[in-house]
């Protein structure tokens, strides 16, 4: 089950979302953030609003990242093709990770530098979260046609960073709970599956693996 490189010969694959849909799907994906913000402003986030806000944003980032990583194995195993939504999902994961980070730094830590510095140097929990975000940053910045063309084959290699990011995010996610619970078990397991399912391919060392790590 391979995808032919779309050009003159064979079927042309559509990368990314078509123009019209883009204007629907991105706002749709950002709706949860807006909803949380609205609830926060209306005082409906409960007794500990900053904590809920921050955690929910993190959870959405994690959800989108899991979904993003589901796309390729889903296609390979079942033929269900959501490849064109992968960039959307990845970017949404990044957007939510950014919101999550800003909420943590600003609303939670109150931009208290001593707390932030200690968190980022002493606590594996925070370090893992920051590492995941840092790994996602260049991916988000190069999620466009222009960067793909510019980086050529390097683009693919660069975007393998999504896996360390996912691993860090997964451990960070687990550590954000005092104990294991049904939700962390579910999402964590799903993320682990998304990573583990790729291992056989990686073991074979196939460079031309398509569609894994492909520029889509």
């Amino acid at each position: 089950m391979r995808i032919t490189e779309g050009s003159s010969k064979g079927k042309k694959l559509r990368y990314g979302v078509t123009k019209h849909w883009r204007f629907v799907l991105y706002p749709l994906g950002l709706l949860p953030a807006l909803w949380l913000l609205k609830q926060g402003i209306d005082g409906q986030l409960g007794a500990d609003p900053v904590n809920v806000f921050e955690r929910e944003l993190g959870l959405w980032a994690f959800r989108f990242l899991v979904l993003c990583l589901c796309v390729a194995p889903l296609y390979a195993k079942t033929g269900l093709n959501f490849l064109r939504y992968r960039r959307l999902l990845g970017l949404l994961a990044f957007f939510y990770a950014s919101f999550h980070l800003v909420a943590y730094m600003g609303l939670d830590a109150g931009f208290n530098l001593s707390i932030l510095l200690k968190d980022m140097t002493h606590r594996p929990f925070t370090i893992l979260g920051m590492t995941a975000f840092t790994a996602l940053l260049p991916l988000a910045l190069t999620s466009n046609r222009w960067a793909m063309r510019w980086l050529k084959r390097g683009w693919k290699r660069l975007h393998l960073l999504v896996f360390p990011a996912a691993l860090c995010a997964m451990v960070h996610f687990y550590l954000s709970f005092k104990t294991l619970n049904d939700m962390s078990a579910f999402y964590g397991a799903l993320m682990l599956c998304c990573i583990v399912v790729r291992v056989p391919k990686w073991m074979k060392g196939i460079r031309k693996t398509i569609p894994y790590g492909r520029a889509i």
């Binding site: 986030l45 409960g46 007794a47 900053v50 609303l107 929990f125 550590l175 104990t179 619970n181 078990a185």
Partner: protein, 315 residues
């Protein structure tokens, strides 16, 4: 009557009065509404006869709704809302509290009698959760030493072990549980901590019997320690010679110590304990942060208990 000198909190630490009052008006206004019906059902509120006790600082209580609906009580689930939402099927009474172990006169105490006792005090205490949020709660109950004196601890008794109820039929968190906690929930204090006049057994809050979510029918309150030391729904108190195992310490010893004294200088491995989120503002952008105080502001009363100890070691 002896009055204790008490560290008064700064003005900006106190829940704003208009906010507190507006909540009262709301509460008064919604008598018939579903929200108050729920609160009432959960609370099975009986008004208690209490008199103000010592140590009640000039603090303004956290809105009662928050205290009753934002809890850690894993017997009912791991969500903060679970204890209020999932404790409707929990019917604590009748309840016998057993005090035994290394004591002269072991006792079985009917908690309903305690509730009717004329001896109930009100204590307005700060409450600091290990998760870095805080409340101010008016508890009703009695100092633990009063009960412990009744049973006459033997000289070899050095620690007090507390055990919670196991009732999976009424406590959904004990049925479907991922947490790894082995029930019952256990807590412990050194005997001198347990006998300290601040250490309190609450049978009520806000002048009414304790709501299920807050640990009905009776719970421990140790205001200078993190909230998880305040074991809820206490079934058994035993005086023992050795440090008893405690639930969170067993679960993650590197994160939760036996002492669990509030200490802004000793951080949780995953987060800072230097400041706390003040529950009650319900405001995303205006939520109050305040520096956490050593021993949660009760240094003057309790620091002598830990003289010579390294509080980084014995966290």
């Amino acid at each position: 009557m002896s009055r204790y000198d008490y560290p008064r909190p700064a003005q900006d630490e106190i829940t704003p009065r208009p906010l507190f009052l507006s909540r009262r008006q709301i509460m008064a206004g919604i008598g018939a509404s579903a929200a108050s019906a729920l609160t009432r059902r959960v609370a099975e509120a009986d008004t208690l006869k209490t008199h103000p006790g010592p140590y009640s600082a000039a603090l303004t209580p956290t809105p009662r709704d928050d205290v009753q609906n934002y809890n850690n009580f894993y017997e009912f689930g791991m969500d903060k809302g679970d204890p209020a939402a999932r404790s409707g099927g929990y019917h604590p009474f009748p309840w016998t509290l057993e005090i035994s172990g290394l004591v002269q006169k072991p006792q079985q105490i009917d908690v309903a009698d305690l509730l009717r006792s004329a001896d109930l005090e009100e204590r307005l205490y700060r409450m600091r959760c290990v998760e870095a949020w805080s409340m101010v709660i008016p508890w009703n109950g009695l100092a633990l030493h009063k009960l412990l004196e009744r049973v006459e601890p033997l000289p070899q008794a050095r620690y007090v072990a507390f055990e919670s109820i196991v009732r999976p039929s009424e406590m959904p968190g004990q049925r479907d549980d991922f947490s790894g906690i082995t029930w019952p929930y256990r807590e412990g204090l050194r005997l001198d901590e347990a006998l300290h006049p601040l250490t309190f057994l609450a049978v009520g809050a806000y002048g009414e019997s304790l709501p299920n979510a807050n640990g009905a029918p009776l719970r421990l309150v140790v205001p200078w320690k993190y909230g998880f030391k305040g074991i809820k729904a206490i079934r058994r108190i035993r005086l023992v010679a050795e440090p008893p195992p405690t639930t969170w310490n067993q679960l993650a010893p590197q994160e939760y110590g036996f002492y669990a004294n509030v200490n802004p200088e000793v951080d949780h491995p995953r987060w800072s304990q230097a400041q706390e989120r003040v529950i009650g503002s319900h405001s995303l952008f205006g939520e109050k942060r305040q520096p956490t105080l050593m021993f949660n502001g009760y240094s003057e009363q309790v620091s002598s208990l830990y003289q010579g100890m390294d509080l980084r070691e014995d966290y």
